[in-house]
Amino acid sequence: MIAILDYEAGNLTSVKRALDYLGYRSYITSRPEEVLKAERLIFPGVGAAGEAMENLKRKGLDEALREFFQSGRPLLGICLGVQIIFTESEEDGARCLGLLRGRVVRFPIPLLDTDGNPLKVPHMGWNGVRPQREHPLFQGMDPAAEFYFVHSYYPQPEDPGVIIGVTDYGIDFPSAIAHENLWAVQFHPEKSGRPGLRMLDNFCRWRP
């Protein structure tokens, strides 16, 4: 079974619906013991990193996430989920989980396109992800496929080797991360049409 982690950071029903559609059984939970029973774990989320970390700590879910990561079972972070795995975030100066070393930073101001026009923040809408190397996350996907993004911050890992996908929005920023049993994406695969479903399917099938 796949657990979807509920830490009061947004709507989790769309991830559940996507897994139902793909034929994978899953449950939404906010209890550490239920998290640790799962074969795979997805932690989605939108909102601010500081508040999310407080919610995780209050429920003992920060420890459960670390333990799950160390157990080697597949773990997928989505949107805010890609941000809280790093050491710290510029947003609220929050200390995060530290599963990977790195910082989460805001898009620079001003942010300009190639013609010098100002770009809006949040980065909202469909954009591409350029694979940096072969990875099971991208299996069966056209390299020109686009995904749905909504965010103002992005991760900057210390080790560039964990960056498997990059997106261009005025600057190139890391949009897909993978390290051992952990995958994390800045976009919303559950809202990204067929390529997004394919990515979720790749995660659900993957054996580290």
Partner: protein, 259 residues
């Protein structure tokens, strides 16, 4: 680079999609679930369900509709029409919508924008705004006034001021509908769209007036809109979304291709 979005709007009345001209004379055009499915397959980037009756009964119908659609369509869905409270927002989001659009209720109670943004995140709160050209005055310096109640009631509020205020309160996006252009199929109101898009840093969805693909090109370039909302153009089968996207791509506008 970020693609320009094509948003398809389905006006819902008694569980059916309808289409009117200048907010009046609505006629049924089809089953919303089937239509949403077809637009998803053709490459719509987002789908909006707009409850035009906005009564207590119709709200439940729209929620059931979103629930059905969200099980088979995996792009952002927006619900608008008759949303007055944070609890109304919660119900449509839990049914599978990604965003809620608030219009009249936000004018009457601007705090609803802030409360919604705090509860669900700014990305889930869209300010819907119906603007009408009334000419510049001391009270309406931009010349565009906000109208509410489905475009029937003037508010005395300047559209440009309201857009900035909504952004400050925490709206994640603005869907700007021109009452003058709505349903005419003669093109979007480019001037107000550009004015508002340049004044705020959140995305602006242009609405009202699309008749031919050229109109989308105009509003996405000259009008500086981040997204273009369409309805009649595709509901009557005059164009498919893929045709519109091919046209835009040929003209150099970046749009998402369907894979």
């Amino acid at each position: 680079m970020l693609s320009k979005r094509i948003v398809v709007c389905l006006d819902i009345k008694e569980g059916r999609t309808t289409k009117g001209v200048k907010f009046k004379d609505n006629v049924p055009v089809g089953d919303p679930v089937e239509m949403a499915r077809r637009y998803y397959d053709e490459g719509a980037d987002e789908i909006v369900f707009y409850d035009i009756t906005a009564s207590a009964e119709s709200r439940q119908i729209v929620i059931d509709l979103v629930d059905q659609v969200a099980r088979q369509i995996f792009i952002p869905l927006t619900v608008g029409g008759g949303i007055r409270t944070v609890e109304d927002m919660r119900r449509v989001l839990l049914a599978g919508a990604e965003k809620v659009s608030i219009n009249t209720a936000a004018v009457k109670n601007p705090q609803l924008i802030a409360d919604g943004a705090r509860a669900f995140g700014s990305q889930s709160v869209i300010l819907g705004m119906d603007a009408k050209w009334v000419g510049p005055s001391e009270k309406i310096p931009s010349g565009y006034e906000v109208w509410i109640n489905g475009g029937r009631t003037p508010t005395g509020i300047d559209a440009l001021w309201w857009a900035r205020e909504a952004e400050r309160l925490g709206a994640g996006e603005i869907c700007l509908n021109s009452i003058d252009a709505d349903g005419t199929q003669e093109g979007y109101e480019l001037r107000i769209t550009r004015m508002i898009s340049e004044a705020v840093s959140i995305p602006v969805v242009a609405s009202g007036g699309a008749g031919v693909p050229e109109h989308l090109f105009e509003v996405l370039t000259e009008g500086k809109a981040d997204a273009a909302l369409i309805a009649s153009m595709v509901h009557y089968g005059l164009y498919s979304i893929s045709e519109i996207k091919e046209y835009l791509a040929r003209k150099g506008v970046k749009v998402r291709r369907v894979w």
